[in-house]
Chain length 326, copies 4
């Protein structure tokens, strides 16, 4: 893709790297899924910068919800949810580098209806969440057919297939944190921009980075308001790479048309502040803006995308069109 | 515009109303600006449903910042900021009705450079806001030329002219609240969708509604992160109307392609909840969805727009494409 | 009281002022209650610094809940709740002064059971508050006998009579804001320390200050978690005074043993920050601490009291024992 | 202690258990400190219910700040802070039990001045915390003499010695989370009530519970507002026990005079809700209250204590006097 000639990857001198080996990580090779992002598990795969990976992911329920009669409270056992593929070791990655994940494709897999959404008791953006005395809303499961042609929401509504990776990131240095949580290492950001056509950058904190992913969505509204998107098992195709010595504090993302900083925190305004501060600093460090000018430009032309407002941290991205970056 | 044949206005039986009188409310007729949204002032104009209004608005600084040397701390005196045109009495409006404001045009006025943005001490999304011990960032003013051709941000960057009304709404029943605040009555929402082509609905709380407006922006990024957009004096053209007996709790907005509920609160997630709950209820009441289905549809296809994350309440809108509403 | 010899009042030179006139403001003289804190009403009483006031207040429901069968949704009509006595004009008060309110006594009045608490639909700290889809908890009213001997909570539990003024403050300059809201002018702070034995200081924003009060509580837990304390009609005895030119940004309070700064905001941590920052500055301005030392002392010896976590703003006080102030 | 005859421990049938073995866990036996609360480390000690433990803890800086010239940015290396003793395996503990930790004594140790507080860049309740553009406040360290006679804050101020364990808890089931974080497992709650005379209950999530502790404070104000209390190395004496099958969701605490539920979350109001909801449920389950009565009693007589407003989660406790429990 031609836009990559001016991308961060290009600016950082690795755009021309030839494509490396291809790896396939299917369910059998993965063996047991991972449920934390952490440094304590053994890698299931070891790759080199430039390699292409084809990875099978489970849906967020580990496939336990097969029909609309499989209520979450019956078939799920906490904390064994949101299973992840990985960790995948990336040779040469060290604390202080940035891991580059280029998302090439997301293909739904498994028997139809492959897509699942649900009302889970005491979970979601518009219900009492384990802090109030109100009785929970009734549980409910909705299964949907999901193909590249669309997400069949109901007889009269078919939503566009707009797949992305709900949970993607690297290991913290010391901690092993639930795959339900988004944070500076990525994780459960549920951000629709983490989609084919995007390159995502993560701060490496331990040797070999330890990449994890899972939780693909056939489509999702901003905020994932009930807490469960169109959850699908999928085959994901990625290309990984490495930018040595690029110290970033939070995940960043780039497409043909924009750059984006991603913050995760509570309350939600803290996620906004993290994202916009990181974007301001990115404009200063990489695009030659004086800090106040960058702050003004974000004020007049910044764009925000809300990932989730339901997870242990909320995720918000702040973006700037490349058209304004000269 | 043909889309209005299926709009709320049409559903509520007033779409075909013929255009009424035209009124002009210029600075001279306004006299003193209003600084609160409230029921205690005398109306400066009285109109009928269906009437068209051409209104001159001041910029958020009341024109006091003429050059980049006019620092806010020198030329502004709190709480005399964000001057508003109004109140405009709408005949026949009663508590329990919805006021309809169709935005037809926003024209910049005044000598160039008409646009102003600024760093104001202890104000804005990325600075310590009167609650911390850090010293403030230095004040700074930036003036920009603003015409229909664009906002001249700098020598190399011209942003598209994308004007909207930053502060627009009706009077509360008992309270008279600063024009800096957004709430259920509208007010300082700083939401870029409040723009030509949109119809905005407000809950009437007092007899004759008392419409106020001001604070036009030549363009603005999502969140208005430094706290000050491209502030311009403007001439605004509106058409007002009335839907009798349509009880709405928060402002709603409609364009050719989407419907939108607008919430304002702190912390920001509460604004999200207000907006999405209102959208769910709108889908149920007006479009025949069962509540859980509406919640699921918002989860899979809702879109969010962040107005501001800097005012006394933060403003977030939740939207649904009409394409999904059958 | 001897401690007042070293109080702010003494430091500011008005401690020795002789007691002025006595005024009685009963329900008849009040006439209609006030429902907003604002500058637009006519004063019901005009007093001088040093005067003593005996004031009859209504309970937060305006006496409409007489028995446990009087459900709030039946007998209350929003926004006509939390009626206030006032405004009381204080001669000589100007913007930039501090109004001194010394609380001398609170006496329950009216027929027994005088105390009321209630579960109000969609209101309170542990219920879904107009932002969620959960159905509300059932309404309920509980009446309690309240005398100086105690609050008879149930057959087996009598709570100590610990009365305070739930809503107390002065007018903003331009705004007229609901008596349900606490803010920099005081208002509905629901802070149990606003009790006999305390002196409270408010920032004057308009000529003659315009003092309001109401909403007395027979006792209350920290946070007023269900949203309704032991609401009582009462007779309050105050002494008002004036400190010319003492610019304070938020209410402050003083007792024999401590000084206290009071913040109101959302989210709750912002109220904490406001209160502690104000306390730090108070230690610096009035007690000779260097700023970092004041910050350290608050960290090691500050005490917090939570007023409410249910009103439009949450209220938190930060206090320092006078024993540490030398 | 006689009050224990009516304690939870007594109600749950283990009050009379005879004292078991005594164990000493000094620095040498601990070897390397732990920096996460998690299930992946090997226990450093294995004890039985009823056993008494004498444990040496490091201060939150691992002793790296010896003088006021040892600035945090120079001598600390993230994430290697807040070192913990443990994990200590408790035989027989299983998921679904409650671990009982009775705090018997906290003795300062090490050369004087043993106490340390500090301003750390971009950390603390009244400074910009990695989300804003303001420059940080200057770093500063303050050393204090700490003995059982008091904390020598300055020449003129000696604060009472009021020691407690800042960080105390058990392992999550799957996660290994930084010792800087408080959550449902306890951890860095910084709650001054976790002191000699208290019994603390924790939800066991993995076999043998895995108890961790560290971060003792010589004294601390509510909220630990600058982020650093009077940090001391200490010798802690505990007695551990086990209540089989007592499912609790969050830590609970009991003293002679009160019971207390402890919540940790952001924003702060969520910590309040967690704590009060848990207290309501405790009153219902253990003390025979109907739920609404328990909610009313908390509203009228609940007491709150703020632990910290500076850590990754904020910690708030809600308490009820035993005097009201019959």
């Amino acid at each position: 893709m031609s836009w990559k000639a001016s991308s961060i990857v290009a600016r950082r001198g690795i755009a021309g790297r030839s494509v490396g080996s291809c790896h396939r990580l299917d369910e059998a090779r993965q063996g047991k899924w991972a449920y934390v992002y952490g440094p304590y598990a053994e890698p299931v795969l070891r790759v080199r910068p430039g390699d292409v990976l084809e990875i099978e992911t489970a849906d967020a329920f580990g496939g336990a919800i097969r029909t609309e009669a499989d209520l979450p409270s019956k078939v799920l056992e906490m904390p064994w949810v949101n299973p992840q593929a990985g960790p995948i070791a990336v040779e040469g990655a060290e604390k202080g580098d940035a891991l580059v994940v280029e998302i090439l494709d997301i293909e739904p897999r498994g028997p139809q209806p492959a897509g699942t959404t649900a009302l889970i008791p005491e979970f979601g953006g518009l219900v009492a969440n384990g802090q109030l005395l109100n009785p929970p809303l009734p549980e409910r499961v909705k299964k949907m057919e999901v193909t590249r042609a669309g997400v069949r929401f109901s007889e009269r509504i078919t939503l566009p297939y707009a797949p992305f990776i709900g949970t993607l990131g690297v290991s913290p240095e010391l901690e092993a944190v639930s795959s339900l949580q988004p944070d500076y290492w990525g994780g459960n950001m549920d951000l629709p921009d983490v989609a084919p056509g995007a390159i995502v950058y993560f701060p490496v904190r331990r040797a070999e980075a330890y990449l994890y992913l899972g939780d693909c969505h056939g489509c999702q509204g901003d905020g994932e308001i009930c807490g469960v998107a169109v959850e699908i098992p999928a085959t994901v195709t990625l290309r990984v790479d490495l930018i040595k010595g690029w110290h970033i504090a939070w995940p960043r993302l780039e497409t043909e048309t924009q750059i984006m900083s991603i913050g995760s925190a509570r309350p939600m305004e803290d996620a906004v502040r993290i994202a916009y501060r990181d974007l301001v600093r990115w404009l200063v460090d990489e695009y030659g803006f004086e800090e106040t000018e960058a702050y003004f430009l974000c004020t007049q032309a910044g764009r925000m995308r809300v990932g989730n407002v339901v997870d242990p941290n909320y995720t918000v991205a702040a973006a700037m069109a490349k058209a304004h970056l000269g």
